[in-house]
Amino acid sequence: MLRFIIRRLLITIPTIFVVITLTWGLIRLAPGNFYTAERSIPKAIRENIKEKYGLNKPWYVQYGKAMWPIVRHLDFGNSLKYQGQPVSNIIARSLPVSATIGLLAYLLALILGITFGSIAALKQNSAWDYASMAVAMLGISIPNFVVGPLLVMVFSLSLYWLPPARWGGFWSKSLILPVLTLSGLYMAYIARLTRAGMLEVLRSDYIRTARSKGLRERDVVIRHALRAGLMPVVSFTGPALAFLLTGTVVVERIFALPGLGNYFIQASLNRDEPLIIGIVAFIAITLLLMNLLVDIAYAYLDPRIRY
């Protein structure tokens, strides 16, 4: 197990390096740069800028200059747009917002998704089953940028129950609508996965054995079926975190929240190179670590898997 974790971490480091290089390459390959974006600047000044920031050096020198502080101290430098602010500060400031919304949304999705998925599987082909699965399909089909505004229309603009936008702190009503908006899609996926997983398990031989032992149906489901039935949900959690990151981008946009996603969009539009690279690297690291955690959890939950 320990060897597996170490090996995985060793693969992670070059992967992140590749991601950073890819991002850097994309930014540099594209015509223009931060200083020329959105402005027409006389040629002489442009040359001066190039001179000052080393943009006329050969590409490998520029690459080395960009990568060295990152490799050396994990230092992503200062933002070009928000002058004098280190990238790490911006991330540290905006991450809690995104993480709070994302994790709450995933938690909600887990609770409701597993509940509805299990009910659908246990009452297969009943009205419950059809209703849950139709709602789940709606959840997968309606983009969250449509769901969000619709929720705002109902709960904020018509009923005046909840604030329509803006960040109101970590424990405030302003979290409710963003979390609901974000969790819909995951709830739908988890419900479908749970149903499929449970149906497969409920057909298996060992569930027949459990029934033949005279266990109550409730115990058959909770003790024997649920664990195996939820394994697909565990595997889904890895990619889900990736989706979640993109999901928060939209939700932060709709509700005007100062999260990581919003900074990332701004940085991409501004060509704020250090900030882009910093955020991309941070997201990549988080994702890879989360995937590793999911694999470890999987091995822990399924006694047959040993790495």
């Binding site: 082909n125 057909r203 298996s204 031989d205 060992y206 027949r208 054995t209 459990a210 029934r211 033949s212 032992k213 005279g214 266990l215 109550r216 003790r223 024997h224 664990r227 195996a228 939950l301 399924d302 006694p303 047959r304």
Partner: protein
């Protein structure tokens, strides 16, 4: 077939149907047999003959939908199981009737330690506390011959070999000392050498505990050494029912004769192994007449027209065939010449 004290289980005219896209599949259609206390009954048939469904019906575990028990009686120790509530049947399952299934690889929960799977039984039915249940589990594992049982009880199923897993299944099934053990092809998925060990184990434990056994198999060889009575099933029907010795010596049905001929005989000179021609019928689309008619070597016109009668050949011997008496006489003749 009287309702005396010795009868543990009596299945009367059981019918279990499945609703499928192709219409109603009569997996079990009018099956009757009885089992005396302390006896072993063999149920023999090819796959698809309805033998497993019969036994799932006995403990009411036929998956529903698509399956349902359409009629009949299952009288176990004087009460009709089909009349009981789900809760009442549940208290019989595992406690008074337990089952062993074909594939020990998939029949144990791979996510649970053996100890928990065993303890579950006695805690539920015998009211054991944790410590009692644990000791009982170890004792059961020792009884079925698992070496170093006290250590192995903490293992997961995948850490056991196939034969050992089937021993665990047997230990689990017998842990509440049931009156009836149903073994559904308990050795089919195992290596030949292991098969003999498992059968020997079932036989030994049966003698020790006095449990009655229903042994389901497609292998006549298994039936011969283990059972007192045999029921031969085909296409959801009982084709022949007799004491084991009689069935082997004097089969009264062409299908049974075919099965017996297809058992390899080591004393016979080398030659072609007999095989019943054709495939078992599609039980969803049975034609009128005898379901075995297309494969039967002594088929006559009447076999394709009319469903055969269930003929009583002697006190305990029945056969479903238009020519049961003739077949029986032929068998008598053959056995007297071979003597």
């Amino acid at each position: 077939m009287s309702n005396n004290n010795g009868t543990l289980l009596e299945v009367k005219n059981l019918r279990t149907y499945f609703e499928t896209e192709d219409g109603t599949v009569k997996a079990v259609d009018g099956v009757s047999f009885a089992l005396q206390r302390g006896e072993t009954l063999g149920i023999v048939g090819e796959s698809g003959s309805g033998k497993s469904v019969t036994n799932l019906s006995i403990i009411r575990l036929v998956p529903n939908p698509p399956g349902r028990i359409a009629g009949g009686e299952i009288v176990f120790a004087g009460q009709d199981l089909l009349q009981l509530t789900e809760e009442e049947v549940r208290q019989i399952r595992g406690r008074r009737i337990s089952m062993i299934f074909q594939d020990p690889m998939t029949s144990l929960n791979p996510f649970m330690k053996i100890s928990r799977q065993l303890m579950e039984m006695t805690r539920l039915h015998l009211g054991h506390n944790k410590a009692q249940a644990y000791e009982h589990a170890v004792k059961m594992l020792e009884m079925v011959g698992i070496p170093d049982a006290r250590a192995r009880v903490e293992d997961y199923p995948h850490e056991f070999s196939g034969g050992m897993r089937q021993r665990v299944m047997i230990a689990m099934a017998l842990s509440c000392e049931p009156e009836l053990l149903i073994a559904d092809e308990p050795t089919t998925a195992l290596d030949v050498t292991i098969q003999a060990q498992i059968l020997e184990l079932i036989k030994k434990l049966k003698q020790r505990t006095g449990t009655s056994v229903i042994l389901i198999t497609h292998d006549l060889g298994v039936v011969a050494g283990m059972t007192d009575h045999v029921v031969v099933m085909y296409a959801g029907k009982v084709f022949e029912r007799a004491p084991t010795r009689e069935l082997f010596a004097l089969p009264g049905n062409p299908y049974t004769r075919g099965l017996l001929r297809s058992v390899p005989d080591p004393t016979a000179e080398q030659g072609k192994l007999y095989q019943i021609p054709g495939l078992p019928p599609d039980v969803a689309h049975l034609k009128p007449g005898c379901p075995f008619a297309p494969r039967c070597d002594r088929v006559a016109e009447i076999c394709r027209q009319e469903f055969p009668p269930f003929v009583q050949l002697n006190a305990e011997h029945y056969s479903l065939c238009h020519f049961a008496a003739e077949v029986y006489r032929e068998s008598q003749k053959e056995s007297s010449t071979s003597l």
